[in-house]
Symmetry: C2
Subunit: 383 residues, 2 copies
């Protein structure tokens, strides 16, 4: 079975490439280093510099004997995208190739334009490359729980059955995102939903929550195989950021009241989820949407978990509320469903004290690399 991974150098893309290669899939990983370039331009480099994708793949092959093919190029260029699908003929495509930072997308005009253009163009090109060159390829698209925002009603998995004035209709669940990045994912969903209905594509759209962790079966084999671990305000997700703050002796920065609640998952579970999705295609002309997270936490709850884990390795962790740089509800109802992936067989790795301590120890080993200025919010859109 052949799988192409768009955005194969990313925090999720690289572990995903290793995961499928280790399980016998023929893997093609594609990236243009957009995230690395943005990270350098915004002084948001990862905690440990990762080898480039070609070198990572070579290291992986040297250690495991398994091969990951690599192509470097811009998937927003259709001729490049099309050539990959024509030549590789993937059975499955995992699409991570998006500018993934909400704060970056809110920085200014150029950053917003890049985010809109890159994300829409890659999704559009992916749809057309499948349609024209590999019509039986199953697209596994990474969406985000952020597409839904924080509505006052239960969040279903992708769709909502509505009764109105005595009549019924099933719709895509209405979406209302809190950043331009998240809004581009809403546009992706609209675009995919249209082409699924019109051209019979086969797509799984995974609405993922924030991911934490730097351990996977393959990443643990060697330091050269580590995921990109970001702790900055641009690319760092909240758990990773809090752990670095704990190690660096910086108070954990809770944005505003800290009641913001989201669904989280372990990096290991992202790998399980995309594998489950890849092995369970929904059928031609179907858009299956699943909510991809394992448990929900408020920011205050996360801060407390990190404080406790810090204590257990001798760190004295302080928690401090700062003005919220984001425009979001700080206290809200949140009840998102997430049974789809569990029904397919997901076995969650929860956010236990052991998991946090293991992460803390890896960060402590790289404590000298931490640049404190990167961890505080540098982009504000709540003026």
């Amino acid at each position: 079975m052949r799988i192409i991974i768009l955005g194969g150098d990313g925090y999720l893309g690289w572990p995903t490439a290793m995961h499928f290669a280790a399980r016998g899939w023929e893997v093609l990983a594609v990236d243009n280093y957009l995230r690395r370039n943005i990270a350098r331009e915004t002084s948001s480099e990862a905690l440990v510099e990762a080898p480039n994708l070609v070198d990572r793949a070579a290291a992986f092959e040297a250690i495991t004997g398994k091969k990951i093919d690599v192509k470097i190029g811009d998937l927003a260029d259709y001729r490049f995208m099309e050539s990959l699908f024509r030549d590789f003929q993937p059975d499955t495509c995992i699409h991570y190739a998006e500018q993934p930072s909400a704060p970056y997308s809110m920085k200014g005009f150029e950053e917003a334009r890049l985010t809109l253009k890159n994300n829409l163009d890659v999704t559009f090109n992916c749809i057309w490359a499948v349609k024209e060159q590999a019509p039986n390829c199953h697209i596994v698209k990474l969406g985000t729980m952020g597409e839904y925002g924080t509505p006052n009603i239960d969040i279903e998995e992708g769709y909502l059955d509505i009764t109105h004035n005595g009549r019924d209709q099933k719709f895509l669940y209405p979406r209302q995102a809190g950043s331009l990045y998240h809004t581009t994912k809403v546009l992706d969903t609209d675009l995919i939903w249209f082409y699924v209905r019109t051209h019979g594509l086969e797509v799984t759209d995974l609405m993922q929550g924030p991911v934490y962790g730097l351990s996977t079966d393959e990443a643990d084999l060697d330091d050269a195989l580590l995921p990109n671990f970001h702790y900055d305000d641009i690319f760092g997700t909240v758990v990773n950021r809090f752990l670095v703050q704990a190690v660096a002796g910086i108070p954990l920065t809770v944005y505003g009241k800290g009641g913001q609640t989201r669904g989280y998952l372990n990096l290991k579970d992202t790998l399980q989820c995309v594998e489950l999705a890849a092995n369970n295609a929904p059928g031609k002309g179907e858009l299956r949407i699943m909510n991809q997270f394992t448990e929900t936490f408020s920011v205050n709850e996360l801060a407390e978990l990190v404080r406790v884990a810090g204590s257990s390795v001798g760190l004295d962790v302080e928690v401090k509320s700062i003005p919220n740089p984001r425009k979001e509800l700080e206290e809200h109802y949140y009840n998102p469903k997430h049974s789809g992936l569990l029904e397919l067989g997901l076995k969650p790795n929860y956010l236990t004290n052991d998991v946090l301590v293991e992460m803390l120890n890896k960060i402590i080993a790289n404590k000298d690399q931490i640049v404190p200025a990167r961890v505080l919010p540098r982009v504000v859109w709540n003026k």
Copy 2:
């Protein structure tokens, strides 16, 4: 009061420019002739060739003494868009500047890409030019009733109050469009809705049905001021197309069963509606959405109206069903609300026999110009 009209050379843009100029507004009309270029490339030129926008504006000024400023340029280029808002400082912006043809957007990859890119880029640039250069400008955006598709429940005006598992939430009304063009309008709405909530823009989004007609107070003054009257499968809306078929002795081509029902309006009412919108800004941080049509008809009903009108001017009109080139329901529930514009003061011009006969007579005067090959569907997306 200053008004900028994006897409000022269009079927709606040009009559709108004249309408506001005649009523004392300072008008700047902007276009890059995209529709004219596409019309030529696809052999879909209008029934009567219109003077270019500069010449039209000169003719209008010669006849009425009223001025319309014109700029020719590509609004998908942000530097151009920004300079217009910086220099002109409009109070109101009417945004028509989109590739408006559903069949064109479904023709192939290049046409789809152009539609997506043009429509999203212009909307994005318009949002940012207002935000950065004219933050008090009220944007009047033309959406389409096609954004809603044909759901099995009543179509409300833009929003829907949903009760789910005993809790309530107001959402944007869920959208599901039937062509890529209509889908780009859905993306526009998502984008505008995000920036309204985040940056406090002031926007009226008009969900318009298919427009018919070629008469307005100003257009009737001189042939040089006529709107672009398209009867082809690319740009021609169904009423205009049927009337030309009636005159040319071509059977009226009903797509499939002909039960497709939509909300229609007279070109004169488009002008009333945008003026009512311009004079009733919703307030900063508000997105007011109104459904812009005056009455609903099925395709079969329209064909019958045109047949009867044809008889009354001595035309023997045949009606013929042909295989539907589009992917759409041919029989469906359709109950869209449209009270918002009536409450603001809209006085509808209905599709009477007199209106149809007046149009038939104008078409008969240009009968020699009709190219029959343009009137049958040349793009099929229902394979």
